[in-house]
């Protein structure tokens, strides 16, 4: 399998290809032998992945992901990441991206407020690491493609690995230039690479990518997509061969690649990808993208979940991605980039204190262990129950795995699926702040209700009387009695009560409808 793909690459690099004579060698998509950590157990499902804990993974893999918020769902409640925008150039065009649009009030990939030199980026990383000791991961994700700016990207990695050696290095690429840089990636000890793969069929690719710039030539349509998919899959194999953990991002575009992503999932799993992150298309006319302007819609919350659930039998899925900006700073659900503008950083007098960071991170580990113990204890109580009832609940949290956010202050809700199997994180919903300047706004409340409409209950640290009544009217139970307690333990305790009430005939279990995924700009930072 590897040999076939390498053979194609040789053809690509040695023969000048014009649009009219595109090579006709098909990339074989048959399942290759699973590699890396992607096979285990009788189910054939990957044992590694977003929700997996220490017990499910080899110690070596666990060590790599245990404090990486993007690779471990469990870690993302505790650890933060940052992106530095050192890579403005790109080598492909995607229909969901418009590079002319830079807006501070918006959170989506490809958007940044200011670009940095590698030297500025290194200073920013040290400043953030000193201020936010739980920041463990530095990623380069654009705003273009890191590997279309190899000098800037690798210079940044070099400076950071010297000044802050405990920080994990990460990059996110479209994969076109990846095979050319795999050995450099390995050399700089970059442990985690994300490739955005939206298709393995050039016909479908032609509807997503208008062109790619490859070997000094612009290719369009199907030819462009064919080169891109071959390079992506080859790059993925090269990385997994070298033991580098790979995450695959896919944008779910209803009517274009939504069904096809099942095939993509199989193709990347067979090539050793560690984790698959299927994300909803973000598309609105004001973004000025092709999809925004032609009215291409994104998926609903339940469409996205159904696809993620469908692929999960093959491989563990990432469901906690916030589709963050190329200059994001903080926990995944928050963005503290405004605290670290270049102007502010240049005035900061920072000292990198590795010991202080280590002590802080040890305290985080203690909280994690308490949380895991609490969840385990609550699960014991469910052991005797047998029911097919599954419900979703929304949670207002600002981290540490606790219900510790006021309903009105939440700019997102985390969603857990509760069943007798336990509490499983299945997604999050971004919303506009309901409470601004102390006053709840009614229009905003309606958008919050729509965003969590598929949930039976919402867990909060506190909630006002007015939204409480309105949520009840919409059939969503506001729950504040578990304020500041651990999420999973509390949700399971509530679920046990719920099952008991259903059993006693006090309430009737009904299924909920669908929910909307928020598309517009994040107006309240």
């Amino acid at each position: 399998m590897s040999a076939v793909v390498v053979g194609i690459a040789a053809t690509l690099s040695s023969v000048p290809i014009s649009t009219g004579t595109v090579i006709r060698v098909e990339v074989a998509n048959q399942a290759a032998a699973p590699k890396g950590c992607s096979s285990s157990g009788s189910s054939g499902k990957s044992s590694c992945g977003s929700g997996a804990g220490a017990g499910d993974l080899s110690p070596e893999i666990w060590e790599k992901i245990k404090n990486h918020p993007c690779y471990s769902e469990e870690a993302h409640h505790h650890y933060a990441r940052m992106h530095v925008a050192v890579a403005p150039a790109c080598n492909i065009q995607c229909n969901y991206c418009n590079r002319k649009y830079d807006c501070a009030n918006e959170s989506r990939p490809g958007v940044v407020s200011e670009r940095l030199t590698p030297e500025q980026a290194a200073k920013k990383v040290v400043a953030v690491a000193s201020t936010i000791p739980q920041m463990t991961v530095l990623g380069i994700a654009g705003p273009g493609d890191p590997l279309a700016n190899p000098d800037k990207t690798f210079k940044t990695f070099e400076l950071i690995s010297r000044q802050a050696p405990d920080i994990k290095l990460c990059l996110s690429t479209n994969g076109l230039a990846l095979p050319d840089h795999v050995d450099t990636i390995k050399k700089f000890n970059v442990d985690h690479v994300t490739i955005t793969i939206n298709m393995i069929d050039p016909e479908i690719g032609a509807e997503i990518y208008p062109w790619v710039y490859y070997r000094n030539k612009r290719y369009k349509g199907r030819d462009a997509a064919k080169i891109l998919t071959e390079r992506q899959l080859q790059g993925l194999e090269m990385l997994t061969d070298r033991g580098i953990l790979c995450k695959v991002n896919s944008v779910m575009i209803p009517g274009i690649n939504d069904k096809h992503l099942v095939e993509v999932n199989k193709a990347v799993k067979s090539r050793g990808a560690f984790l698959h992150n299927i994300m909803p298309l973000i598309s609105a006319p004001e973004h000025g993208t092709v999809f925004g302007l032609n009215g291409q819609r994104g998926p609903t919350a339940q469409e996205l979940k159904a696809l993620q659930d469908g692929c999960e039998g093959q491989m563990n899925m990432m469901r906690h991605c916030r589709q963050c900006r190329a200059d994001a700073v903080g926990l995944l659900g928050e963005d503290r980039s405004a605290e670290f503008t270049t102007e502010k950083i240049m005035q900061m007098d920072v000292e990198y204190d590795a010991e202080k960071r280590r002590i802080y991170q040890e305290s985080v580990e203690t909280v994690r262990q308490e949380k895991a113990a609490a969840k385990k204890a609550e699960l014991v109580g469910l052991a005797g129950e047998h029911t097919d009832i599954k419900v979703l609940v929304a949670v207002a949290t600002k981290g540490e795995g606790k219900i510790n956010e006021h309903f009105g202050h939440a700019n997102e809700f985390q969603v857990y699926e509760l069943s007798t199997e336990g509490a499983k994180f299945v997604g999050h919903r971004r919303v506009d702040l309901y409470c601004q300047g102390g006053y709840g706004e009614e229009d905003t409340l309606a958008t919050v209700t729509r965003a969590i409409n598929d949930c039976h209950a919402v867990f909060v640290a506190k909630i006002g009387g007015c939204p409480r009544d309105e949520l009840k009217a919409a059939g969503i139970e506001p729950v504040d009695k578990y304020a500041f307690e651990f999420i999973e333990k509390s949700a399971l305790a509530w679920f046990k009560d719920y099952l008991a009430k259903v059993k006693a005939g006090e309430i009737e279990h009904t299924t909920r409808g669908d929910a909307a995924i928020r598309q517009g700009a994040l107006l309240a930072a």
């Binding site: 150039a89 080598n91 000094n216």
Partner: protein, 74 residues
């Protein structure tokens, strides 16, 4: 003639700068400019002008008709 970059359209992404075989492109006030004395329209290097091929915004790298057509040395 030579190519020029329409400043109001340029995103300043820098993609063109390293692709120019003549090192004719440089940054000026956040956007990029082509030195008309150095631009050869990529004739003799590539089938298509590289700045045009890589630019993310259509019709941003365009022919500057105020200069005579580039004549490769015989």
């Amino acid at each position: 003639m030579t190519y020029k970059i329409i400043a109001s359209q340029c995103t300043g992404c820098s993609a063109c700068e390293p692709q120019c075989p003549n090192v004719a492109i440089s940054e000026k006030n956040g956007t990029f400019v082509i030195n008309p004395k150095k631009c050869t329209e990529c004739i003799g290097y590539f089938d298509e002008p590289q700045c045009v091929a890589v630019c993310p915004v259509e019709n941003t790298c365009v022919i500057d008709t105020s200069f005579p057509r580039y004549q490769p040395a015989a």
